[in-house]
């Protein structure tokens, strides 16, 4: 079910509970360009882990290190499920 979703959507949807849908999409777009040099629509499943790594400093600032790692672990698991 999840596999049919675009990788950028998986991450954005995962973050939207915290950041809101608009900021979650913007964050994915910004960090996909910064870390991977590609727009969100060109990401593949293998990009999810490096994208989440790139998002970690932002999440750590907003949620704290522990919760940021929880979210990243959860989304990584979600992506491979």
């Amino acid at each position: 079910m999840t596999k049919s979703k675009a990788p950028a959507d998986i991450v954005a949807q995962g973050l939207s509970g915290y950041l809101g849908p608009h900021m979650a999409r913007t964050a994915v777009k910004t960090f996909a360009a910064k870390a991977l040099g590609r727009p969100p629509e060109m990401l593949v499943h293998a990009d999810i882990e490096p994208l989440l790594r790139a998002l970690r400093p932002m999440l750590r600032t907003l949620l704290g290190a522990h919760e940021a790692d929880n979210v990243i672990a959860h989304l990584t698991k979600e992506a491979v499920a």
Binding site: S16, Y18, G20, H22, M23, P57, M58, L62, L63, H74
Partner: protein
């Protein structure tokens, strides 16, 4: 729903305060209780937020700095304040009180700046176009200057007349102007996070700053607007109660937003 309840709490406290003023004959006692309860509630909110984070987390430091201000002001009230503190009658109390208030205000200012700058530290863009952002900042600075500028002038005049104790008031007023100017990034961060659990924290912090803005504006212009000192006092204390109440609500919202339930990361925040 539970985040919306946080908006109700400060208004419920305000309603209870106004009812108490209406029915209690000793208004001074009502004000005294209201002031200390409001500060205690704000301290509780700041502590609730700070201790949800781990040591070294950016927002833990920011919330601790906000909380220490409320704690030090409470310490000042209990021990050092001239008309009520346990040591308020001692000759050294005014100097000690000045130092305590100064340290509290410096910490509060740094904490507020840290929370306002979270977008820059986290590396995201604030809501709105650069033009809109600049306009919001300019409006916030103008409102801050109008609300607290008069208090700066008054304290500066008192210092010029040899009242060195007014230097604490001067610093507090300048710190207030800087804090009120930060309403702009607070508001823009709340808008950027709209629909997410973190948006509530910044929205409630913005409401708290507006409460303090109204409090300072009442101190600046209350006497000029109304000759009824009791009415002015009622408005200023209502503003303080809302400021502290929304401060507490923001801290609780922050704690609720940063929760270790991974499943919630996949669902939209409850309104």
């Amino acid at each position: 729903m539970k985040y919306r309840l946080l908006i109700v709490v400060p208004f419920a406290a305000l309603a209870a305060f106004l009812v108490a003023l209406a029915v209690m004959p000793d208004r001074a006692a009502v004000y005294r209780v209201e002031i200390e309860l409001a500060k205690s509630a704000a301290l509780f909110g700041c502590a609730a937020a700070a201790f949800r984070f781990a040591r070294g987390d950016y927002l833990r430091t920011a919330w601790l700095l906000l909380g220490q201000c409320y704690l030090l002001i409470l310490v000042n009230d209990v021990f050092l304040r001239a008309d009520m503190g346990a040591f308020g009658h001692e000759s050294w109390a005014p100097v000690a009180s000045g130092i305590v208030i100064f340290v509290g205000n410096v910490g509060q200012l740094v904490g507020t700046v840290m929370i306002a700058r979270v977008w820059r530290v986290a590396g995201f863009e604030l809501a709105g176009s650069p033009l809109v952002r600049r306009a919001v900042v300019l409006i916030a600075v103008a409102i801050a200057l109008v609300s607290a500028g008069d208090l700066v002038v008054t304290s500066a005049r008192e210092i010029a007349h040899g009242q060195t104790a007014a230097s604490v008031d001067l610093f507090s007023s300048i710190a207030d102007i800087i804090s009120f100017s930060l309403i702009a990034p607070f508001l823009l961060t709340a808008v950027a996070f709209r629909g997410g659990s973190l948006g509530w924290t910044w929205a409630l912090l913005t409401a708290s700053l507006f409460g303090w803005l109204l409090f300072d504006a009442t101190l600046s212009f209350g006497a000029a607007i109304s000759a009824n000192a009791d009415a002015v006092k009622r408005v200023s204390e209502s503003a303080r109660l809302l400021a502290c109440g929304f401060g507490m609500a923001a801290g609780v919202a922050q704690r609720m937003a940063v929760r270790s339930v991974p499943a919630t990361a996949m669902a939209p925040a409850e309104g």
